[in-house]
């Protein structure tokens, strides 16, 4: 025996959708067979009648809320009617999620302050996502690997044109304005800025800096291939330039696995041009010196951290004359001592390029004709090529003087480096012969002459007088290769002026806001660090249908 009960709420208005939901709720109660909840309009009442839910006894007007339940027994019906208010008041307790966009463009609209896109989608999709992010004016943290070298180069060139950074691909670590991206340690903020082609290298150095009491301004990853010659360290150059301009950064640390030599040279020149102390750790790359101008070479990650702290303590802005009059010209080194020539080459090859020698370290440095210098050249005049029928240049200055005049006549030469080796067996007065020529040459062409004087005050040539006469002639005199090389490097290392738009600092100074595409854990990490972030619910384009995806890619061009 079924029971029909009803309730009428006079003058109560609810939208029909709310009523349909209430009806659903009533039907779901125990013992209820059917229910109808309507505003009692004629049409609605007819509908209820058609479903056998309306008894004649019901008198309701269109402004009334009519609730009818059909139940298995009287108590179920009454209980259902009693539940109406609580059902009406019921809210979905499951909190609705914030909207998760499916596309980068929607994400950027949702978070217009975003400056960063963290991309960790499968490699074959990563370049396309990164391109889109660049179009949306985002810096990129590209965690994905298996991105082709061609794509990496193209992405980085596009980014550079727009003043944007592409950190990666295969970039695991960065810290931007105190927020770790990807895998990063929680380190205090501070004045040490890092550029790293190695994620764990950055983690090790930033952690060590923190543990030594220091702090990090930004740690910028570049991806492991950035320092390959094909890529040309595009990101590392941008990062160095950025940290050079960043007033929060006082000391810079540059970490990489061994870069290709041409890339290393340009990067070290750029590092010198920052005018800030730069600690360099090219892991496994023989340090050319402990120090070259503002560059300090570390041999381990922990030493890199220690040096950066030390340099911070001794910090002063290196006032390098960026427009040094000789900086666009070449060095010619005219050595009597073979080992001195070799050590000089070893140190300078890191910052001067191209550099040649008749006593090269690598095959690419071979000077084709020892009688004619090219670009930067280090000549060992004691080499047997020059020795045929001639005395050694430590005894006989004739060859060196002729070569000195020859080099000075070359308008591309800006600096000539000489060694003067005193002591038993050497020429009794090298300064006596060299100083007049030095004076003449400086007078004629205005170039810079640097002399390395090797000897002791007990030597027969009178060290002090030799140094004085060379200095009076206009030479810059040093007592060791190390000091001389430092001087040469500071004056001659060439840093091409940046012809691309700089990466603007203000986006690095703002609180980090980022779009995450890929690994959700990166998004969670961002939000747990207090950064604003949006996670994109990314899926392969066209559901992974490659034909359609290719078509869409063509339609975007």
């Amino acid at each position: 025996m079924t029971v029909i009960k009803h309730d009428i709420r006079r003058g109560a208005y609810y939208d029909s959708v709310v009523l349909m939901q209430l009806q659903c709720g009533l039907i779901g109660l125990p013992g209820i067979i059917d229910a109808g909840v309507v505003m009692a309009t004629t049409a609605n009442c007819e509908l209820l009648a058609a479903n056998n839910l309306l008894s004649d006894s019901i008198a309701a007007s269109p402004d009334d809320l009519l609730i009818v339940v059909k139940a298995e027994n009287d108590s179920s019906a009454s209980e259902a009617i009693r539940q109406v208010d609580s059902l009406l008041a019921r809210r979905r307790s499951s909190a609705s999620q914030d909207f998760r966009p499916r596309s980068l463009s929607a994400a950027v609209k949702q978070l217009p302050d975003s400056s960063w896109a963290l991309i960790s989608v499968p490699g074959r999709y990563a370049a396309a996502v990164a391109r889109e992010a660049l179009e949306l004016n985002q810096h990129i943290f590209l965690y994905s690997d298996n991105v082709s070298l061609e794509d990496e180069i193209a992405l980085k060139k596009t980014a550079r044109e727009k003043g944007l950074l592409v950190m990666g691909p295969d970039c695991g670590t960065a810290i931007i304005n105190g927020v770790g991206l990807g895998f990063a340690n929680r380190v205090r903020r501070g004045p040490i800025g890092l550029v790293g082609a190695s994620g764990t290298g950055l983690q090790a150095v930033t952690s060590h800096i923190h543990n030594l009491g220091g702090g990090v301004s930004h740690a910028i990853g570049t991806g492991g291939r950035d320092l390959k010659s094909e890529v040309g360290a595009i990101t590392a150059h941008q990062a160095l330039d950025l940290l050079a301009r960043d007033p929060e950064t006082k000391v810079i640390v540059l970490i990489s696995k061994p870069p290709s030599p041409d890339v290393a040279t340009k990067l070290l020149s750029a590092a010198q041009a920052t005018g800030k102390p730069v600690v360099v750790d090219f892991i496994g790359y023989p340090p050319p010196a402990r120090k070259l101008g503002n560059l300090h070479f570390a041999t381990s990650l922990s030493e890199a951290a220690e040096l950066s702290i030390r340099e911070l303590e001794n910090w002063r802005l290196v006032t390098k004359e960026l427009e040094s009059p000789v900086s666009s010209l070449y060095l010619r080194g005219l050595f009597s001592g073979g080992t001195l020539a070799y050590e000089t080459l070893l140190s300078l090859q890191a910052s001067l390029s191209p550099i040649y020698s008749n006593s090269p370290i690598s095959n690419s440095q071979v000077l084709q004709d020892p009688l004619h210098s090219e670009y930067h050249t280090i000549i060992d005049l004691g080499d047997e090529f020059f020795m045929v029928g001639r005395l050694h240049p430590m005894i006989d200055n004739d060859l060196r003087i002729r070569r000195l005049r020859q080099e000075a006549a070359d308008p591309e030469v800006g600096m000539i480096l000489l060694d003067v080796v005193l002591g038993e067996g050497s020429h009794p007065d090298p300064a006596g012969e060299l100083a007049p020529v030095i004076k003449e040459v400086i007078g004629n062409s205005g170039l810079m002459i640097v002399a390395i004087v090797i000897g002791t005050e007990d030597d027969p040539q009178n060290l002090q007088s030799q140094v004085e006469r060379l200095s009076e002639a206009g030479a810059v005199v040093f007592r060791s290769v190390t000091e001389a090389v430092n001087h040469v490097s500071v004056h001659l290392s060439r840093h091409a002026k940046n012809e691309f738009p700089p990466v603007t600092l203000d986006r690095f100074a703002q609180p980090l806001a980022a779009i995450n595409v890929g690994l959700e854990s990166f998004y969670e990490s961002l939000t747990s660090q207090g950064a604003q972030a949006i996670h994109v619910e990314w899926r392969p384009p066209a559901g992974g249908n490659e034909k359609l995806a290719l078509l869409l890619a063509r339609m975007k061009k």
Partner: protein
Amino acid sequence: MDIDNANQNAVERMMSARPILKGVVTARDVIPGMKDNLLLHAGPPIEWARMSGPLRGALIGAMLFEGLAANETEAVARAERGEVEFDACHHHGAVGPMAGVISASMKVYVIENVEHGNKSFSNLNEGYGKVLRYGAYSEDVLKKLRWMNDVLGSALADALAQSNGIDMRALIAEALHMGDEGHNRNKAGSLIYLKLISPLIAKVVKDDVVESEVLQFIGDNALSVLNPVMAACKAMTDAAHGVEGSTIVTTMARNGTDFGIRVSGLGEKQWFTAPAEIPVGLFFSGFTQNDANPDIGDSAITETAGIGGFAMATAPAIVTFVGGTPKDAMNATLEMYEITFAESKYFTMPSLDFRGTPTGIDLRKVVELGIAPRINTGIAHKNAGVGQVGAGLVRPPLSIFEQALLAYAEKYEL
């Protein structure tokens, strides 16, 4: 060819269209290509054999209404023998809700897009209960249709003749600020319509009883304005059709069997179709999902023009359709921004800080992201004549967008 430029052009035309409700006229006198033995219906073209229950019922009813058949049996026989022609409303500048059947003698709303000069048409809304658009064709249904044609239609025609027309774009924009999304909820729009038309009706209808009946009929029906709103959307989307190279969707329509779309840069009668889905939603007392017919009606023209399901964020009263909370409604609209080319200049949503509604479905984005448009819809009973059984949400099958993309690639040799 620059697709973005083409789409910009198409969407600009869609938004700048200015649909004005100009009058009510007999279909035969105003709809291009209309003739006595032609019946128009919702959705893409379809042959009698494949039609669903509600569409067949509505066509039978229209044949009876027109005197093309004396009874149901004769109507079915004539339809089967091909003695009556059927065509899509959309091929004639017209749209109709649910079955969307329009016959030659029916009075239709005439909308003129005064910006671009194109016209569009829709039938008069019958209200609730047993109605032709859900496939009912009993005598009382036909009787109501005759009253609508003779009394209501004439009154509206005379009333509108007294005015410069009703600016539908302004009406929709206002209704969106009053809780309508323009498809499933047209309460506010219908009241605005009533407000605008009442003084005009009072002026032209001399008989007080008739005047009262007419006003009562319009006012009781919260869907009164749905048909002119749909025709307005049709005028807007037609203005956007035929832009060379554009990937903007200009039609979404269902006939109860197939879901079909058309694309601006592709052919005028080039439909991409697949079986229509059964909507998911809330059901009236006594009905369940099992009673539902596959998706039917031209009303998805509202979503095509950037309102309806796309404007859920502005219709908090009906959020239950999309999950129950206002946030779900916001998310529904935010999702549609993903697949649209622009944001409406004229239709804005207070809840989204007056952001424009997502406008101009871009075929490329639908396929790329795999997000099909959301359509708010009424749900018809699968049997002719039972009527509406609920309301809910449906999405077109993704495959028709993929088909269209391939056809686009072929046409433009990509």
